[in-house]
Amino acid sequence: METNPKSTLIVTRRSPCQGGIAKSALDTVLAMAVFDQPVALLFQGEGVLQLLPDQATELLGRGSLSRQLESLPLYDIDSLFVDAPAARHYGLDLTLCALAISPLEDSQIRDLMLQHHTVLGF
């Protein structure tokens, strides 16, 4: 693999129970980190619901994303952002979130996207 890594912003926009796409986004973030590629993660739109605490996904016979989310800092993934208008829309209390995550307004999200070489939307 080449050196000179490119920065990537992964944007995750789906609710945690909507198919497997939210998990695929997280898997991609972790893969980037494992290969020492700079990566940031933005929860946008319905994707902010992935940050809800106490998700009983076992009732759906599915695995939980929470543990994987909480492991992100262990992989030195600390560029974590949340769409602040969406968090307000869904009544998400970020103080209950187990992750240290930065809320961004629309103009800041635009700046964040401009700061990255690649933006991958999930």
Binding site: M1, E2, P5, K6, T8, R13, R14, G19, G20, I21, S24, D27, T28, A31, M32, V34, F35, Q37, T118, L120, G121, F122
Partner: protein, 130 residues
């Protein structure tokens, strides 16, 4: 310019699968290089060897196979998504004791590291679906 594609949506969901295949053809027609198409999540269903569509419906599999045949484009299916969707090549079918392979042999089952590598080696990584 070197392109790679990331396809997230099922071949049966909306138009993004068709758009991805058309985009791939356009990239090559303009003289660019298309290195790799990585299929993730529901996108792995593009590799299904056994789909039978009603007459008159479009099967994107033919387009991917043509890209593979004419331009040696790598067609990679994410392994964890592939298993979840029952997309097994000969090796995985044997390993998981399933009766038959369900993936067309032009596709290769691979890890997400191959997506990371595609990102590093391409000028553009373009996502479809999601």
């Amino acid at each position: 310019m070197i392109y790679s594609l990331l396809v997230l949506s099922s071949p049966l969901a909306g138009s993004s699968a068709r758009t991805a295949a058309d985009f791939a053809g356009a990239v090559l027609a303009r003289g660019h290089t298309l290195e790799r198409v990585f299929f993730l999540d529901a996108g792995v269903q593009h590799g299904a060897v056994s789909r039978v569509l009603p007459q008159g419906e479009h099967n994107t599999l033919d387009e991917w196979l043509e890209l593979r045949r004419t331009h040696s484009v790598e067609l990679l299916l994410c392994v964890s998504s592939a298993l979840r969707y029952g997309m097994l090549d000969e090796n995985e079918a044997t390993r998981h004791e399933r009766g038959a392979a369900t993936v067309h042999p032009a596709f290769t089952i691979a890890g997400l590291g191959q997506l990371v590598e595609a990102h590093q080696q391409s000028d553009r990584l373009v996502t479809f679906g999601g």
